[in-house]
Symmetry: C2
Subunit: 119 residues, 2 copies
Amino acid sequence: MEIKLKVWLEQEGEVVAGDGKVRLLKLIERHGSIQKAAQENGMSYRHAWGAIRKMEMRSGLKLVETQAGGRAGGGARLTAPGRDFVACYGRFSDGLEEIIQKKFQETFREQKVTNAGKS
Amino acid sequence: MEIKLKVWLEQEGEVVAGDGKVRLLKLIERHGSIQKAAQENGMSYRHAWGAIRKMEMRSGLKLVETQAGGRAGGGARLTAPGRDFVACYGRFSDGLEEIIQKKFQETFREQKVTNAGKS
């Protein structure tokens, strides 16, 4: 058997973000475009935009700023709070999987349950 | 904002158990009855029985044994591997929430993001 883990942020009972939405923010920063970020994250532009709006409303943070038109033909980037948010989440996530796996191995190994069911 | 966590066990991509199913096993041990355990866990007897069968098939462990009839009018209890499984899961879960919350506070507090959005 193996242990699986899911973490996400909530504000007053509503989901703000988990790995998927933070990945979307990172992709916006990388590509400078919500369209390209959405595409790489396997979602529609409309879905991505809705997700960003919900994240912003629920967190109370302005995370993404857009520029319409201009030489670059418009674009998007993370605000300072947006970059902080992604950085915090990254530091939180870093090593979390390893902590969980270690605790799982330590607590389940004793009883030889971890490999039961595998022939 | 606050961090939320979900953990569960899988065997070859199939869910074996999480907090809910382990709670069901504990209730079977406490009540000596699948019927009473299911009721306290807010599920039907049929659903509970199906959940137990899936846990056993996927883990490769016989977890629950039943006695039909007799003076006690039948009943159910955990097998030795069933008790081990519950004990392992309990040791794994113990303190996990605290570890996650601590890591969250440490990584998010710096940026003052944790209380954003609360007026």
